[in-house]
């Protein structure tokens, strides 16, 4: 089936404005009759729930954490892009649009990206009005910095905690609506199923993580703002609780999953220290503004970093990409680091690391300036590694960080299931095959504050409120399924822990479906994943019971979903016989190691339809048209 994103046509500059006018509105007096369920309280979820509540809708919002403020958007460090052009350095909506399309390796829809670039400016205005303390210059105006993949300074930031400050802004707006009674909050509540009635999304089944009670919430629309699935690699920069569960359950109920193979590996993370490690920690990419990446020229170099003279250092990013240098896009920077390490020139334990050196910046700007810019990152680095980044170069290595793939949505952010909307990282829409730094925050807030309020209204205006109530047979059926699966997990009583199995899956995925992929590695993964799935359902050990606070049970459910999903990811990667952005197939590269896209055959988004566990999913294609940016080989040289 050929999918249609239902993008408005005409000159791209007018698409969103025209579309906003064309969409239907809900009468203000009727809004409170519609109930909207918002799952997830990160940037997308909190901003959507707050805005919809403010408009007068009856909103229920859910998060698995104890407070909406803990969603993993909080961990974003570097900044948020906007086409404000405050520095007068040649930025514009069109340039942000162009950079995002190009950065995404021409695998995103033009209209969606244009809209994102257009509303980016509103986001900054909104956040400042909410009291987000962005960095300012001495005149009192907003400060910006440059980020990977861009040659203009368009990234607004709040020290190294931009995600935190933006999320707290959205959380405060959400809190205001909770107080006003328009939004009801359900913390420590995890979505475990989507309820579809007559082909439309009408509810969700959730488990109260404190009491273990499973219940159904019905509404007139469901918004999934549940983030990404990069924990499928087990070790990643995501929070421990981040999972594919919500969108996977929706996928199993019919929502198409698009481009799951587009995963982003972040170039600047702290290298893994040992087997026991539970997560990887990211160091903001902004560090690359002042830090220089290098490895020793000599293989197996044993000297400490500071004793290696200039001539024995290889500043490989500056050498390979003179115009972007250390600010090359993430996928390129990550692969370059892996190449150096594969070439036996890596540093630190196991040789899996490269240096990020601030010596020259400290010499040029002084340690105080560097401290002012990145002080908290240096502190964090020292806490984890016990090394002082001001004195010895930091060691970094790429780590799974973000996913561009997600549930397929049309221009209105609605999936192929009417009434099911997907926002933020959970959808596949704007980043194509690779996301630029500081664009995730932009997307989450754009979706939540400025897009979904219009498009949800458009959908609701065409349907009657309150069609399905909580005693509907579909709800009872869904509750039964969820309770059944919980019982099953508790009854296996095998010999392996959930973490053990998840680690096995993650290792397989990282080695075979990670930073680089090949036909063989992918086939091997597709072969081995079902075995892990079988092992899981035969031999997992989950103690305790379901009617209680049981973190193992939570993890077991998430792991089960990851195992099913991993297969889809590998299949998507195998089907896409090209390299683009975060998807790198060793068979498809230029002589210099750059990704070789195949626009003739793969210029489309791949949306997969679920056909059963262990069964081959069905592929639907949405062709991509580029009318405003010419398809070109992405070059950052």
């Amino acid at each position: 089936m050929i999918l249609d994103g239902k993008c408005p046509t005409g000159p791209i500059e007018k698409t969103w404005d025209k579309h906003r006018f064309d969409m239907k509105l809900v009468n203000p007096a009727n809004k409170r009759k519609y109930k909207i369920l918002v799952v997830g309280t990160g940037l997308a979820g909190a901003s959507a729930a707050a805005t919809l509540g403010e408009l007068g809708y009856n909103v229920e919002t859910f998060c698995y954490q104890d407070s909406p403020r803990r969603a993993h958007s909080i961990a974003a460090q570097g900044g948020i892009n906007a086409a404000k052009n405050y520095p007068n350095d040649g930025d514009s909506i069109f340039r942000l649009f162009y950079d995002t399309i190009k950065g995404g390796d021409f695998r995103a829809r033009e209209a969606d990206v244009w809209r994102l670039a257009q509303v980016s400016n509103n986001i900054i205005d909104q956040c400042v009005a909410q009291g987000v303390p962005f960095a300012r210059d001495y005149a009192g105006y907003l400060d910006t910095r440059s980020f990977g993949g861009a040659q203009v300074s368009r990234t607004f930031y709040a020290r190294g905690q931009t995600g935190q400050q933006l999320l707290l802004g959205a959380y405060s707006a959400l809190s205001r609506q909770i107080k006003a009674g328009t939004v009801t909050l359900f913390p420590r509540t995890e979505m475990l199923d989507l309820v579809v009635v007559d082909g439309e999304a009408k509810g969700i089944t959730v488990r109260d993580l404190v009491t273990g009670k499973v219940r159904c919430h019905t509404g007139d629309a469901v918004l999934l703002c549940t983030g990404g699935y990069v924990n499928v690699f087990y070790l990643s920069t995501n929070a421990m609780g981040c999972s594919v569960t919500a969108i996977w359950k929706a996928h199993k109920k019919g929502a198409y999953f698009a481009n799951p193979c587009y995963t982003q590996i972040h170039p600047t993370c702290i290298p893994q220290a040992g087997e026991y490690q539970s997560k990887l920690t990211l160091m903001s990419e902004s560090l690359r503004n002042d830090g220089r990446c290098w490895v020793p020229r000599k293989k197996g170099e044993k000297r400490p970093a500071n004793e290696i003279p200039e001539e024995d250092r290889d500043y490989y990013l500056e050498r390979k990409y003179p115009s972007f240098g250390n600010l090359a896009p993430r996928d390129i920077a990550s692969r370059a680091a892996k190449e150096q390490c594969d070439d036996d020139r890596g540093v630190g334990p196991g040789g899996r690391g490269v240096y990020l050196d601030f010596r020259d910046s400290i010499k040029r700007l002084g340690e105080d300036t560097i401290r002012e810019r990145y002080g908290n990152l240096f502190e964090m680095y020292e806490r984890i590694t016990d090394e002082n980044g001001y004195k010895v170069p930091m060691r970094i290595y790429p780590a799974p960080h973000y996913v561009m793939g997600g549930l397929w949505v049309d221009y209105n952010l609605m999936s192929n299931i009417p009434g099911l909307f997907v926002l933020g990282e959970a959808n596949f829409s704007v980043h194509g095959a690779n996301r630029l730094g500081a664009s995730a925050l932009m997307q989450g807030l754009a979706d939540g504050y400025f897009i979904i309020p219009y498009t949800v209204s458009h959908y609701l205006a065409q349907s009657k409120p309150g069609k399905v109530q909580e005693d509907h047979p579909e709800c009872r059926k869904s509750i039964g399924e969820v309770e059944g699966s919980t019982k099953r997990l508790l009854s296996i009583n095998g010999k392996r822990t959930v973490t053990d199995l998840m680690r096995e899956l993650g290792t397989l995925m990282w080695e075979n479906v990670g930073m680089t992929r090949s036909k063989e590695s992918l086939k091997e993964a597709i072969e081995k994943i079902p075995a892990i799935r079988e092992e899981f359902w035969k031999n997992v050990k989950v103690s305790g019971n379901g009617a209680d606070f049981n973190q193992q049970l939570e993890n077991a459910g998430r792991t089960a979903d990851f195992i099913e999903f991993a297969e889809l990811l590998a299949r998507d990667a195998l089907h896409r016989n090209e390299s683009c952005g975060g998807h790198f197939r060793v068979e498809y590269q230029y002589e210099d190691g750059e990704a070789r896209r195949d626009d003739a055959n793969y210029c489309y988004s791949a949306a997969w339809e679920f056909k059963g566990v262990g069964k081959e999913p069905e592929l639907h294609k949405e062709p991509l048209k580029f009318e405003n940016v010419h398809l070109a080989v992405r070059s950052y040289k």
Binding site: E54, Q130, P133, K179
Partner: protein, 267 residues
């Protein structure tokens, strides 16, 4: 500073951990042994190791809150040897590493304790009261959309930095856990100060401070005795000057006629 044990040496530690089956249930201390711990394990990874063993023995693992494990989400919450987050300056317990301990150490692990934070299970407490405080006024009532350009109002760098210093709070509740009075003054003060120091937040400042103080009391938090334990335990080093600011904002509110009557009359 550096590892107390040899780089590749491992440690064995005795853990004395608070176990409580559920809210309102009788709790008790249980003793566990953590084996094969390296200096590079984080504190929570050390607990992971203990939990994996408990699970395989068919026992219930120790429940503890955690999520980002990089010190920013504010979910982790353990009192380690009598100090919330374990006593390393400006460090959450998820970022505390075992190189701070040595082989053979005994470690007491307890949940946050305060009237406003009922225990849900083991080391997990309900911090909904902190959300409630924000809901009662920890925001600027800016409608989505109808706001001026971000650069329309210049804000001095000093004010922006001051505001950011306050805004760094991660809402973990260590201040409440550390406070002998179970008070949330640092949490509340930081939010009040963050918003009051920005022009956008000054309009609602008097009403905000009155409402948040009232909420603090309704939630069961105690009062401030200026011990400054909160700042010492805060993983973000939030300064008690923000409590002084809270007090000042309260006094300022009294002298604004309308807002003053709000303070006196309440809801």
């Amino acid at each position: 500073m550096s590892a107390q044990t040899a780089e590749h040496g491992t440690m064995t530690l005795k853990l004395i951990v608070w176990r409580q089956a559920g809210p309102g249930k009788q709790g008790r201390f249980e003793t566990y042994t953590a084996k094969n711990i390296t200096p590079h394990h984080s504190f929570l990874e050390m607990l992971d190791v203990v939990n994996e063993e408990l699970i395989l023995e068919g026992k219930e693992p120790i429940a503890f809150d955690h999520d980002c494990r990089e010190g920013i989400c504010g979910m982790c919450s353990q009192v380690v040897n009598g100090v919330p987050h374990g006593g390393q300056e400006r460090t959450t317990v998820c970022q505390l590493h075992m190189r701070k301990f040595k082989d053979g150490d005994t470690i007491y692990i307890e949940p946050w304790r305060a009237r406003a934070f009922p225990i849900l299970k083991d080391l997990v407490v309900d911090r909904g009261a902190l959300d409630k405080l924000i809901q009662e006024g920890g925001y600027i009532s800016a409608r989505t959309g109808g706001v001026p350009d971000a650069n329309a109002t210049p804000i001095s760098k000093a004010d922006a930095d001051y505001s950011m210093d306050a805004a760094e709070c991660i809402g973990c509740g260590a201040c409440v856990a550390a406070c002998p009075n179970g008070a949330a003054m640092l949490f509340t003060g930081a939010k009040v100060a963050q918003l009051a120091s920005l022009p956008q937040g000054q309009v609602e400042a008097p009403v905000r401070v009155a409402d948040m103080i009232q909420a603090m009391q309704e939630c069961g938090f105690g009062n401030c005795s200026n011990h400054y334990e909160c700042q010492a335990a805060c993983p973000k080093g939030i300064d008690v000057k923000f409590i002084a600011r809270l007090n000042r904002e309260f006094l300022k509110a009294l002298f604004k006629s309308k807002a003053g009557s709000h303070v006196f009359a309440g809801e």
